[in-house]
């Protein structure tokens, strides 16, 4: 099993979800994160005092997939999340040793 993780722009989440559904992916988990990288943050001002926000809101998308699906999912994620502007994010794949569905105890690909 593989875990595909993507950090993407928040407003791209819907596109990402649709792309994955089209591929037949049945589930995913998302969370809010703050990213720091080439994309600049912004500056706020309160009573004349500047406040630099370096971090940019991003969404982390995690998808558990069968080994042979990993590459297709990565490609779909990249295509769906791309705007071509700085800050589009990263996608990476990590190995998963055991995967279990809590409800049934099914393991491996059956747990997806």
């Amino acid at each position: 099993m593989r875990l595909v993780t993507a950090i993407v722009k928040p407003f791209k989440l819907d596109d990402v979800k649709h792309a994955l559904e089209t591929l037949g992916v049945h589930g995913l988990t998302v969370s809010e994160v703050q990213g720091f990288g080439r994309q600049k943050g912004h500056t706020e001002v309160y009573r004349g005092a500047e406040y630099t926000v370096d971090f940019v809101p991003k969404v982390r998308v995690e998808v558990l997939v069968d080994d042979h699906d990993a590459e297709r999912v990565v490609d779909a994620l990249i295509t769906a999340a791309r705007t071509g502007k700085i800050g589009d994010g990263k996608v990476w794949v990590t190995p998963v040793e055991t995967l279990v569905r809590v409800r049934t105890g099914e393991r491996g690909a059956d747990a997806l």
Binding site: E44, G48, A49, T52
Partner: protein, 453 residues
């Protein structure tokens, strides 16, 4: 001439109540937008307090309530800079003995009416949430107040002043109040139809938000919506019952109809939701209250308690249906100013023509259903139509002028990032337990010494 301290107390208290309506509106609207533009929405409302507050003293009051300059269209300049108002009295009508038992300080009247002039442009802001340049909006408020609100309020609210004999006109007022004889006790035309019509114009000038109507965000803070509606309800007693300018039976009746129409407006809106959507919502309850308040505004002194229930329920039902119009016609009136204020204002203004009763003590002709024929309904329709058309046209022209000169709409990029940070360099909330994420604090230039030290 002595002033009536009880009436003065009521008008001053009412002025404060109406002042609070603008922040109330800010929260009603502000809770409905997404989290990235809450401050901008609050600010579009709050700035009306500042801008119109100053304009009113400079020339707004004079254009609205100084003696008519010509044709019932606009006041003259005799009260510019509030000249000749300090320590003067607003007499009200004389009694049979030629005395003025309900005189109040002119400045109490000046303040009461100012609050109306503030909230009317503020109402418009809901139509252009999430996408307007802040100072462009500020400029719009200056121009629209000057070219639309002040004249229209003169038409509707400036009554001819009469001498001690009760008949000789000593100063002329506006054409709708005096010549046409439409009844609008507290501003169904001058406030709600006026604002609603301008809102439609601006929604067209600015265009739809990116992705609308397919993409939308939920109201970011529904308790704020209800807080705002509650403050509006509270303040509206000043708006409507205060419009009597006396603490008398007319004020008490206006208070009563305001209360009960609002209650009925909530029930009407929730009924539609229950039937159509299967659930009664909080945003719906708040909206139904506002719809009831809007509709009863012109009618509050002219109908009785049962009439108030009818006005409220009709408004609640019709406005709940009318908020769907924008999808049918494809204009992005973001927070339904048209659906609630234009439609609610029309409902109330026209229902006066049906339900007005001479028994309330406010000196009205009877409406159609009260045995009075079509006459009053016709007057009401003319007043509504005139204000609606005038406001739409001028608002559209002002909006377009701003759009082609300094620009009215923020860039797509700024709209995506959210107008709070791009227009105001702020964010609404910082609730994370994680503080200091990404903060690199640089104090005002002035302070470098101490900081570096």
């Amino acid at each position: 001439m002595g002033i009536n301290s009880g009436d003065t107390a009521w008008v001053l208290a009412s002025s404060a109540l109406v002042l609070l309506m603008t922040p109330g509106l800010a929260f009603f609207y502000g809770g409905m937008v997404r989290v990235k533009s809450v401050l901008n929405m609050l600010m579009m409302n709050f700035i009306c307090l500042a801008i119109v507050g100053v304009l009113w003293v400079l020339y707004g009051y004079s254009l609205t309530f100084a003696p008519d300059a010509k044709g019932g269209l606009i006041g003259d300049l005799s009260n510019i800079g509030l000249k000749s108002t300090i320590d003067q009295v607003s007499t009200g009508y004389p009694d049979s003995a030629g005395n003025y038992p309900h005189a109040i300080p002119v400045l109490a009247f000046v303040m009461f009416q100012l609050m109306f002039a503030i909230i009317t442009p503020a109402l418009i802001s809901g139509a252009i949430a999430d996408r307007a340049k802040f100072w462009a909006w500020g400029l719009f408020v200056v121009l629209w107040a000057t070219l639309v609100y002040f004249p229209v309020a003169h038409w509707v609210f400036a009554f001819d002043a009469v001498g001690p004999d009760g008949t000789t006109i000593v100063a002329h007022g506006g054409w709708i109040a005096n010549k046409l004889g439409a009844y609008d006790f507290a501003g169904g035309t001058a406030v709600h139809i006026n604002a609603g019509s301008a809102a439609l114009a601006l929604a067209l000038v600015l265009g739809r938000r990116k992705g609308w109507p397919k993409e939308r965000s939920r109201p970011h803070n529904v308790p704020f919506v209800l807080l705002g509606a509650s403050l509006l309800w509270f303040g509206w007693f000043g708006f409507n019952a205060g419009s009597s300018l006396k603490a008398d039976a007319i004020a008490a009746n206006a208070f009563t109809t305001t209360m009960v129409a609002t209650a009925a407006g909530v029930l009407g809106w929730l009924l539609v939701e229950q039937v159509r959507d299967g659930k009664p919502t909080t945003v719906g309850a708040a909206s139904g209250a506002v719809a009831g308040l809007v509709a009863i505004t012109p009618a509050c002194a002219f109908v009785n308690g049962l009439g108030g229930i009818v006005v409220g329920i009709v408004a609640g039902v019709l406005c709940a249906l009318a908020v769907g119009l924008k999808y049918r016609f494809g204009f992005d009136d973001s927070l339904d100013v048209v659906g609630v204020h234009l439609v609610g204002g029309l409902v109330g203004t026209l229902l006066v023509g049906f339900l007005a009763t001479s028994t309330t003590g406010a000196g009205t002709r009877d409406g159609l259903l009260m045995g009075g024929g079509f006459d009053q309904l016709r007057r009401q329709a003319i007043a509504a139509g005139a204000v609606m058309a005038y406001s739409f046209v001028i608002a559209f022209v002002i909006g377009k002028l701003i759009a082609v000169t300094i620009g009215f709409r923020v860039s797509d990029e700024d709209e995506g990032a959210g107008v709070d940070t791009t227009e105001h360099a702020e964010s609404g909330y910082e609730l994370g337990a994680v503080t200091g994420v990404g903060s690199a604090y640089r104090p005002v230039p002035l302070s470098n010494e101490a900081v570096d030290a």
